[in-house]
Symmetry: C2
Subunit: 198 residues, 2 copies
């Protein structure tokens, strides 16, 4: 095989979910793209990897010291939504319903993977709360074993914060999901936490 092709296939197949076959398909596709479009793509990747920062207030990905959400004076600074990762911020922003701030933990507590509370941005969250503006903390963390552990740990740490409400996002059957295919725990929880309609 051509060395140039072999190199690009080798590099692309290091990415998660991309095997050698997909890498080859991507490489061949790039030959059909304009050279300028390919260099725009590689330049965007390099600029991202070399210049991206973490917001000093919420740990979200950011171009500057403060991320666009923290820098936006229209956001409600009394509510903070705590999430595991940057992609959760994007998912919640896409709903266009939430107007508060975020706090990105950067993972969940996972002894199996050697991630302890000190590896997450929990102290930063408490520092922010100590400033006094925050009145509610919404925990939007996965319901995995690691997520539940993290939620439990954060709830304990927040116990001393007077005048700060702590909530978790609602659990239940998703819109469009069929009850038949939901797991027992979710169904049981959804029935227990039923909403009155009349």
């Amino acid at each position: 095989m051509s060395k140039l092709l072999d190199d690009v296939v080798g590099e692309l197949s290091k990415l998660p979910g991309i095997g050698r076959r997909t890498a080859l398909r991507l490489a061949i596709h790039m030959l059909r793209m304009e050279r300028e479009d390919v260099s725009e793509m590689t330049a965007a990747i390099d600029a991202f990897r070399n210049n991206i920062r973490y917001c000093r207030q919420c740990n979200n990905l950011s171009d500057d010291e403060l991320c666009p959400v923290c820098a936006d004076s229209d956001r409600d600074r009394s509510v903070v939504c705590v999430v595991e990762q940057v992609s959760d911020v994007i998912s919640i922003e896409n709903t266009r319903q939430y107007k508060g701030l975020y706090h990105v933990l950067g993972g969940v507590i996972s002894p199996m993977q050697g991630i302890g509370p000190s590896d997450l941005k929990i102290d930063l969250l408490l520092d922010n709360i100590a400033k006094g503006e925050i009145k509610e903390v919404i925990l939007a963390i996965s319901t995995t074993v690691e997520g539940e552990t993290t939620q439990f740990y954060i709830t304990r740490r927040l116990e001393g914060c007077e005048g700060v409400k702590v909530s978790t996002i609602a659990r239940g059957i998703g819109f469009g999901d069929e009850i038949e295919y939901a797991d027992e725990l979710t169904i049981a929880h959804a029935i227990h936490n039923r909403t009155n309609v009349k």
Copy 2:
């Protein structure tokens, strides 16, 4: 969202099979990679896109005027295997069974997509045959409508080539495939072209 992140997600999601969600996952993964590894990847992509050439003899992807197969003096120059695309060359090379040369058409005849015979490297194949060294042409083209059309067209063009055998690869039930799930045409063909074992 951060502009740097938005840019990289936008660029990556232009690639086939990569949506915005996958692009975001790839971008986040790149943050966990070393900066040098990311620049090695982008450099490999740029080098590939800007420097790759097509072999002047067989139209395979190549670093030089001749591709590694055509340049290899150990290959059997009396046999040429005609394939649609570069990835087919790689698939056949991976078997380590074929020792002849290749000829990459660069597609198949497809009136629907506006691809006619003149868009494929068929004249180059005939020029190569005219040099007199080639004794057999193996057609390894898909059994789609477009592939069959292309095969029919090439076979017609080769009719005038005296002393050149033309064959197509065997069709039948693949190793590991179950007869139950094979289509009727393949089963019928496999029975008709049965091989004696005793």
